[in-house]
C-alpha cells in the first residue's frame, strides 16, 4: 500500500471493509485448520481405539478418548509452532467460546455417563440399564454437530452449517445403521458391536470436521 494523502471517502471505506474481511478470512482459515486437524486426529484415534478393542476383545481402549483433548492440543501446538498467530478478534473469540462451551458439556456428560452406566451395570438389572443408561456417542455427536453449525453461522459459511446438519442427520437419525444393515450380513453387522461407536465417530470426524475444515482452508 502506498502513501496516498488524497483518499476519497469511498476508498477509505473500501480499505476498512477489506481489512475487516481479511480478519474474518484469517479467522476462517485458522478455524478450518483446527477443524481439519481435529478431524484427521479423531479419525486416526477411532481407528486405533477400534483396533485395540478388536485385538483385546474388550472395550478398554475407549478410555483412550479421555486423553483425546490433550492429543489435539499437542498436535495443534506442534503444527502452529512456526505460524504467525491469528490475533484475538470478536469473531475468533465467539468461535473459540462456542467450542470451549460445547466441548466442556461433552466432556462433563461423558464422565458422568461412564460413572452412571457403570453403576447401572453393577447394581441394577439390564432392564433398568436399557431405560436409564446414558448414551455418550449420540449425545456428543449431536453437541459437536451443533458446534460445527454455529461456527458456520458465526463465520458466515453456509457450507459449514450444512455439514453440521448433515453429519447430525446421517449419524443420529439411523441412516448410517440402516445402510450398514443393508450392506452387511447379520453376522458381520453383529461383529461391528466390537468396534462401535468408533465407526460413527470416524464418519462424523470425516463429514463434520475434516471436510468442512478442508473447505475453509482451501477457500481463497
Amino acid at each position: 500500500m502506498e502513501e496516498n494523502m488524497e483518499l476519497t471517502a469511498e476508498r477509505s471505506l473500501e480499505i476498512i471493509t477489506e481489512q475487516i474481511e481479511k480478519s474474518r478470512r484469517a479467522v476462517s482459515k485458522d478455524t478450518g485448520q483446527w477443524l481439519f486437524v481435529s478431524g484427521l486426529t479423531t479419525m486416526l484415534m477411532s481407528v486405533i481405539v477400534a483396533g485395540v478393542n478388536l485385538l483385546t476383545r474388550t472395550p478398554i481402549a475407549h478410555l483412550l478418548w479421555f486423553a483425546f483433548p490433550v492429543v489435539i492440543w499437542l498436535v495443534m501446538k506442534y503444527i502452529n509452532r512456526n505460524r504467525v498467530p491469528v490475533p484475538e478478534s470478536l469473531v475468533g473469540t465467539l468461535v473459540k467460546k462456542t467450542w470451549y462451551t460445547i466441548l466442556t458439556f461433552a466432556l462433563v456428560y461423558s464422565v458422568i455417563a461412564v460413572v452412571w452406566n457403570r453403576y447401572l451395570v453393577v447394581y441394577e438389572s439390564p432392564d433398568v440399564y436399557l431405560c436409564a443408561g446414558m448414551h455418550i456417542t449420540p449425545t456428543v455427536i449431536t453437541l459437536l454437530a451443533v458446534a460445527v453449525s454455529i461456527t458456520g453461522l458465526i463465520l458466515k459459511k453456509s457450507s459449514l452449517v450444512w455439514f453440521g446438519l448433515l453429519s447430525f442427520i446421517i449419524l443420529r437419525c439411523g441412516f448410517f445403521s440402516l445402510i450398514l444393515g443393508r450392506l452387511l450380513s447379520p453376522t458381520e453387522f453383529g461383529k461391528l458391536s466390537l468396534i462401535r461407536p468408533c465407526d460413527y465417530i470416524f464418519l462424523f470426524a470425516l463429514v463434520g470436521l475434516t471436510l468442512p475444515g478442508w473447505m475453509l482452508i482451501r477457500k481463497k
Binding site: 500500500m1 496516498n4 483518499l7 480478519s23 484469517a26 504467525v84 498467530p85 490475533p87
Partner: protein, 77 residues
Amino acid sequence: MNFQPLDPLLHAELRLAVMSLLISTEEAEFPYIKEQTGATAGNLSVQIDKLSSAGYIKVKKTFKGKRPCTICRMNEN
C-alpha cells in the same frame, strides 16, 4: 449527524488499513499486520511509529523465546 473531520494522519492507505485491522482485534503481532496489509516491513514500521507517536496505537516490544516480537494494540484513550 455531524462527524468530526478525519485526522489527515489517517489519510494514508497503510495507516488506515492498520487502524481498521486493529479495530477488529484486541492486539496483533507485527508479522500478522504485515501479512494482512501486504506492506513491506520497513514501510509498515515507519507507519506504526507515526500512529504510535500520534497516540492512536500502543506498541509493545517483547520477546517470543529468543526472537523479538512487536505487538500493536489500539489506544483506548
